[in-house]
Symmetry: none
Amino acid sequence: MPLQKVSKEELIKKVLPIFKQKGYHNATMSELAQACGVRNALFYYYFKDKEDLMAEVLQFFKTRSTQKLKAMVEDQDLSLGEKVQAFVQFLEGAYLGSFNGCIMANISLETAFDEPAFLPILKSFFDDWIASMSTLFLHKFQPEIAREMAEATVQDIEGGILLMKLYKDKHYLEKALNRFVKLLA
Amino acid sequence: MPLQKVSKEELIKKVLPIFKQKGYHNATMSELAQACGVRNALFYYYFKDKEDLMAEVLQFFKTRSTQKLKAMVEDQDLSLGEKVQAFVQFLEGAYLGSFNGCIMANISLETAFDEPAFLPILKSFFDDWIASMSTLFLHKFQPEIAREMAEATVQDIEGGILLMKLYKDKHYLEKALNRFVKLLA
Amino acid sequence: MPLQKVSKEELIKKVLPIFKQKGYHNATMSELAQACGVRNALFYYYFKDKEDLMAEVLQFFKTRSTQKLKAMVEDQDLSLGEKVQAFVQFLEGAYLGSFNGCIMANISLETAFDEPAFLPILKSFFDDWIASMSTLFLHKFQPEIAREMAEATVQDIEGGILLMKLYKDKHYLEKALNRFVKLLA
Amino acid sequence: MPLQKVSKEELIKKVLPIFKQKGYHNATMSELAQACGVRNALFYYYFKDKEDLMAEVLQFFKTRSTQKLKAMVEDQDLSLGEKVQAFVQFLEGAYLGSFNGCIMANISLETAFDEPAFLPILKSFFDDWIASMSTLFLHKFQPEIAREMAEATVQDIEGGILLMKLYKDKHYLEKALNRFVKLLA
DNA sequence: TATGAATGAGGCTTCATTCAT
DNA sequence: GATGAATGAAGCCTCATTCAT
């Protein structure tokens, strides 16, 4: 009756939105399993424990994001304007689709103090994101300034995502993205 | 051994940093009690349940913050520059003291989806904060612009607090505060 | 502000219906106190503990019932018919007023196994009740038969009270009382 | 150590006498588990919560009783006398084996006021019991009379079980059963 | 008399995890 | 791969009780 051969990646993909929505501690293995149409115990075939599962989810998200960002930024066929546009579209696609926010920010705030296991992945995600943005700003600004603008932009966006989640109102993020565009217009 | 006369407000004050550090779900009643030098059950004398305790903690923080911010902004004896300076000092005092971030942001991201009980308090906190900042920006900008700058500044600061908590590095928040000052210089 | 001088008997009287309704274990000291307009701790001034309180309530009920029954049965001025009528009126008054049943039966079934402290009082209540009824039946039947009829009648009535409480329908008890009357008509 | 394959029905059967003895509120999940040689948490694999467990226990008892009673009453091969005899034997087997009484009566009195969840099962048990007895009485009496006699007999028996439990003396129930037999002799 | 503050024990329940199948 | 059955630890909460005032 089972025999669906649920792959590891499938599990990760189906589990991600739930961790995003409910956070690490508040998402139970049972509801994660249910979301995958799978019994609780199967996770322990693929993952050592809940922490490992969470880590792989974060890693998955990070890898995918970083790849796309890098691809955009390094694409020789795109003008700066096109890159910015692509960047914004990517961010819209990633964060504007629901009011559940950014899994990396959510898990950062929830676990930064308690679960050092996730820190390297989380940091490396923001490292890459800021680095990509820096590269864009370098088209128009000095390195140091570019770096600060990248950080400020990421902060503006993450703050916008926070308010968006809280108020269930997308304009906070949209305006942050507009500000980003204007800085490079 | 009993009879220390621990007041409700004392409990709230002692419990706040733990909720800030560990979040709502991950903070156990036991550790909250331990932090207060009190047995678990006493909380249920003063508070209906954990949710009620959390709500009162948030309310306490919100009320205190709002009062101070309003006082600063409305103080007739202060110049704009002095107000900005006071504002920044307040924010430094509130968020730069530890790497545990902002309890309102932490709890917002953790519970916005699941626990509607906290939403009104959390929203009203950010409402007031943004409103106070708007008032400052109104000294130099048109209402609509002032409002957007207030929102952007809050987002920048909250994003900075996020990165500060993640990297255990205060410069993200410090730079955000600098940017705020510059906007009103 | 307090100073109502709540007497022991008042407490017993106000507490009785709650024990009848909710039973011994399921009635909390807090709700008992609330029903008396008094704080929890006051009970421990008058009573050793919950068990003692329950015992005194049962004793109170038993004493009052027994007195009335004896008075009826021994009243020289009443004919047998009048005695039976008085008896029935007493039982109607005691059990037909609510659907909460008979405190002595409720507590018997709930605690017979666990709390020997109540047994003597409970037994003595039923002893007296059956004895009184026996006396009535002796007017018309041989001692042994009278005794059996008394027991059977008490059983019929208590069974009726059980079904009355369960179905919230008074006819079970009413019919049992009718049968009793007929036996002595 | 795990892996004894304790079935749901086994749990129900082992748990039943404890609920009968101690009642619903006073029986703890721990002692129920201990009686089954199982850890506390297993119950929550099979049952939603304590209430659900209790309900399934009552349902189990009710179903089994009803089946047997119906079988007896409807058995074409038995004479009225044999049916009555079988009926009495069944009741003796069910209630005369211990001094813990009738679980349906015990739980009725304890929970009729507070836990409506059990009411339908409890009522339907007594409905069926009274209906079966009515059928027997119909052999000799008019419908209305038969129904009253059935109710009266159930009340007599349940009252007898009450006194039996209280006095730890089986004669109350035995005599009630004798009276039942005589009515149909 | 009466209470406010406090507690210890224990109750129900959830959860991550295991392991034989 | 996948699951059903089981568990130990821990979580939130309630309750009877105490005692200084």
